[in-house]
Amino acid sequence: MAGRAMSVEEILEVVLKDRIFYDDSGGGVTFSGGEPLRQAGFLRAVLEACRQSRLHTVVDSCGLASQEDLLSVAELTDLFLFDVKMMNEEKHRRYTGVSNRQILSNLEALGRMEQPIWLRVPVIPGVNDDAENLGATAKLAASIPSVERVCLLPYHPLGESKSRRLERDATLPELQSPTPGDMQNLVELVEAEGIAASIGG
């Protein structure tokens, strides 16, 4: 697979090349993955360096990590993107292979801090796009003051070619992306619970 080892300094050097653009746009750096919390120690070091350079930082996490790692990273982060794929523990286990208990408890802990959070839901037709799941997600989001919005991310089939290249069977065969109309309905469903929602983000 692609990728190479880089030091904190090397990362900062690349990031700071675009400094003049961040100054104007208020933009900054997003750490995503994979799962950035898998390298929590290194991530803290990079975030620390970004903070010293007054760069805006975002961490995009699936939420499955030790609470200690999560909270120590969150302290250094300006905005957290936090995935909530499914509220139902049984379904969560069936589709992702793990329980969502740790994730939800992490979210609760994160919610007690002041950092703004965007909850992100990958909308997968027939899997988690039902009113029950999204309604429950929206209620949860609305109950945590630091959650600013719910981002609904329409499923896209770009992963299939990757699966083929990795000589795996596609896990979600013949699944279509939700239509813009479907997505708009879901936005309304979420917003009915009193929390802002957007498509993408």
Partner: protein
């Protein structure tokens, strides 16, 4: 657009450009009778008067703004006193597949019988070529530089606000005062001034007469018009043409019609480059809009309709075709009139207003080929105007281009202009900076930087023409280090700049003496006050540009030589030159290494960018500050228009991996496809150039439409523009069409006739472009993300994909 505008627009789009011999015939008649009887300026003014008095008028059925240069829309006159088309030229123009002009049999007949016999050997082009030294011709034929004035007169200027307060009768008073102040006893140039001023006075009368003829035509039409609505319009047109240009305009309609008469007069008098241009149209028209709305004589709708009619007039006027054309060549119908939107007022405050937005709406809705438009963005320009601009840009027609109004002022201050004149200035043509209404700023020719490197590598010898063109500055093997090579390059550069300037002296002097422009001189300060013609240095400011082309190609080439030859010593320079001479045959692995494993300009890589700055500084020092024949100053400009394709075609393989004949890089853009670190890196690299020392730079960027979706896409692009301008970037323009669509248009031109793309400092119909230029535009890197880090990961992902598949 209302129904009428829609019809007028469609008519303008549907008409095929044609050539009219009327002007050539009238002029030849006049010269046959009058040549030798008057001083040159007066002869020119009287011949202009003769044209205004006798040319066929046109008043379209539904028109509100009136007047055409030819006998009907899109009929283009010729200028045999400047360059005389041969019968073969005319036949090729008629039959060539792209940008053709229909040539009526009558025109061929008139040329054969009357025009060619009189003008052959007498035209400016014939005289210029006869006077230029052999050495100049050899370098010109080798493609080291081009020459603008072999095809058209110097013009390259823009009007300021003076006509909105003064009529031609007022200008005549100024002329009379200037004449009265002449001191024949003390001033040895008094008689010269007298003749120049007399000519200007005659030119004012000619334009008044031209307008009165239109008034009469409109009044006659009104007398027999049955539809009362149209009758009222014709009566109004008659009134307008009686008022302007003799007197100052009293309302919005008169203001537009006045400018239009000035425009027609300037492009009838001579075929000056870049047609003519109203400059800050939104600023000039605002008082008339406000007054009309307050009085109730105007509504926003009627103001917009008049502006649309005005835009259609520009589109009715294709550029005059070149002479000495070849069948394979394609030109452009665009004549480079480039309306400025926004910018600054003379007092330094924001100059944008309600009309700025109306103009953007018109550009958006009409997307005509002409006029071009640009938005001048200063630190004070409201985000709302930039936002509106980018929404139009996103449509993908390439309009408008975007300029940094603060840098435009700074560039002019460096040239020694007053702050007020600089702020009232702006940009025209492609990217050229000028003090509107007060400056002759003349492009004289493109200059081929990569070709000069090619000659340096061959000790001054040109492998293409097999001639020793430059001085002997050392064999390739003889340079001990990179600096020695660079010094040799600088000597070659200086030699060819000297040669170019020598040629310009001859041409400028010829124009000053033989081809004055009395009407244009009325409009540009301080020609009247000085009693001196525009072409003889009468303008307040006179700057003459040489436009350097191929900075990307030469930078990457020198970076490759520096690294491979002088640092890694993996090839000798003589060895590399031998490989270039063979166009990399049998050396594809080396070529791939040069293409992909060396430092490239456009990636925010200081190794390459420092070389770019060094080349830029050398070109600047060779050109800037040197005196011109008419008392002006030479300046450097970084603009290619489409010349990078021609320059590439006569330049052999280059050390950056470019093959023999391929286009060189355009403007200050990186070599096509070599910017692989995303748009922010391109802007950072381009921002390292000292734009303030130029008279304009041109940067092209191409985005995939998906990147600019939604408000977020517009906001991101706006931040990109603002950030580039913080680095003193002069200009940026965007193509927002994906490669796939362009490929489809190539395969099926018939269904894509209306596809307009950004070429250089202008937009053009994609299907009218030469195949080479089409390929070149497709090859410009299409950016799919904004930042450097993202571009890196994207690239890694792509590489990954290539490896896996």
């Amino acid at each position: 657009m209302n129904e009428r505008t829609r019809r007028l627009r469609q008519e303008s789009l549907d008409l095929r450009p044609s050539i009219s011999s009327e002007r050539a015939e009238l002029l030849t008649d006049f010269y046959q009778e009058h040549f030798g009887r008057h001083s040159v300026p007066v002869l020119r003014a009287l011949s202009f008067f003769h044209l205004c008095q006798n040319k066929t008028l046109y008043l379209g059925e539904e028109e509100l703004i009136v007047g055409e240069r030819g006998p009907r829309p899109k009929a283009v006159p010729t200028y045999p006193e400047l360059n005389c088309h041969s019968l073969e030229d005319l036949r090729i123009l008629d039959s060539r597949p792209k940008t053709s002009y229909q040539v009526p049999e009558r025109c061929l007949e008139a040329y054969e019988r009357k025009v060619i016999p009189y003008w052959q050997g007498r035209s400016m082009r014939d005289r210029i070529f006869a006077d230029l030294p052999a050495e100049w011709h050899e370098a010109y034929e080798a493609g080291i530089y081009t020459e603008f004035m072999e095809q058209r007169a110097p013009g390259h200027t823009v009007l300021d606000d003076k006509i909105y307060a003064k009529g031609m009768l007022d200008f005549k008073k100024d002329i009379a005062e200037s004449m009265a102040a002449l001191n024949f006893a003390e001033d040895p140039r008094a008689q010269e001034k007298h003749e120049a001023l007399r000519a200007m006075g005659i030119a004012c009368d000619a334009v008044i007469l031209f307008a009165e003829r239109h008034a009469e035509l409109a009044e006659n039409r009104a007398a027999v018009e049955e539809d009362p609505g149209r009758r009222a319009e014709l009566e109004k047109i008659g009134e307008v043409c009686r008022q302007v240009p003799a007197g100052a305009p009293r309302d919005f309609h008169e203001a537009l019609q006045y400018y239009w008469f000035c425009h027609l007069a300037v492009i009838t008098e001579l075929n000056g480059w870049d047609a003519f241009n109203p400059g800050h149209l939104d600023q000039h028209l605002l008082p008339f809009l406000e007054q009309g709305l307050a009085e109730g004589s105007l509504t926003r709708e009627s103001a917009r309709e008049l502006l649309e009619a005005f835009f259609i007039k520009f589109n009715n006027h294709p550029a005059p075709p070149k002479v000495g054309v070849t069948a394979a060549e394609s030109g452009t119908y665009t004549d480079f009139a480039n309306i400025n939107i926004g910018g600054l007022l003379q007092d330094g405050s924001d100059g944008s207003n309600e009309i700025s937005h109306i103009l953007l709406d018109i550009v958006d809705e009409m997307h005509l080929l002409q006029p071009s438009t640009n938005v001048q963005v200063s630190r004070k320009t409201p985000d709302a105007l930039l936002d509106h601009t980018l929404r139009v840009v996103r449509k993908g027609y390439g309009f408008p281009s975007i300029f940094n109004a603060d840098t435009v002022v700074e560039e002019q201050i460096r040239q020694g202009k007053s702050l007020e004149d600089a702020r009232a200035g702006g940009c025209s043509g492609c990217v050229e900076v000028g003090a509107f209404g007060k400056e002759a700023y003349i492009l004289t020719g493109y200059f081929n930087l990569p070709k000069v490197l090619e000659l340096t590598l061959h000790n001054g010898f040109d492998p293409k023409t097999q001639r020793q063109l430059g001085p002997e500055t050392g064999e390739a093997a003889s340079f001990a280090d990179f600096d020695e090579l660079f010094n040799a390059f600088e000597r070659q550069l200086r030699h060819f700049v000297d040669l170019k300037i020598h040629g310009n002296q001859i041409i400028e002097s010829l124009y000053a003496r033989q081809m004055p422009a009395p009407f244009l001189s009325v409009l540009i300060d301080d020609c009247i006050a000085e009693g001196r013609d525009y072409n003889a240095g009468g303008a307040r400011y006179n700057n003459t540009f040489i436009q350097a082309v191929g900075i990307g190609t030469i930078t990457d080439s020198l970076a490759a030589i520096k690294e491979l030859v002088y640092e890694k010593a993996s090839n000798g320079l003589d060895e590399l030159v031998a490989i270039l001479d063979q166009d990399f045959s049998e050396e594809e692995p080396l070529r791939q290494r040069l293409l992909h494993r060396t430092h490239k300009y456009g990636n925010d890589d200081d190794y390459a960018d420092d070389i770019m700055r060094r080349v830029f500084q050398s070109a600047f020092e060779a050109i800037d500050g040197r005196p011109t024949a008419k008392g002006g100053t030479y300046r450097l400009e970084m603009l290619p228009t489409t010349c990078h394709v021609y320059f590439g075609s006569i330049t052999g393989a280059t050390p950056d991996g470019r093959l023999d004949g391929q286009p060189v890089s355009e403007g200050i853009s990186p070599v096509q496809g070599s910017d692989r670190s995303g748009p922010t890196a391109v802007l950072k690299s381009a921002g390292k150039m000292d734009h303030v020392k130029t008279g304009g730079t041109l940067l092209n960027m191409k985005f995939s439409p998906s990147l600019l979706e939604g408000q977020a896409g517009i906001d991101n692009l706006a931040h990109l523009v603002r950030s580039y301008f913080k680095m003193d970037g002069h200009h940026v323009q965007f193509n927002v069409v994906n490669a796939e669509l362009l490929r489809r248009a190539q395969a099926d031109p018939a269904s894509h006739r209306d596809l307009i793309v950004r070429v250089a400092g202008y937009s053009d119909y994609f299907c009218d472009l030469s195949p080479e230029l089409q390929e070149e535009i497709i090859a410009r890197t299409e950016h799919g993300s904004f930042g450097q880090a993202e571009a890196r990961s994207e690239r890694a992902a792509r590489r990954d994909e290539v490896l896996v598949s």
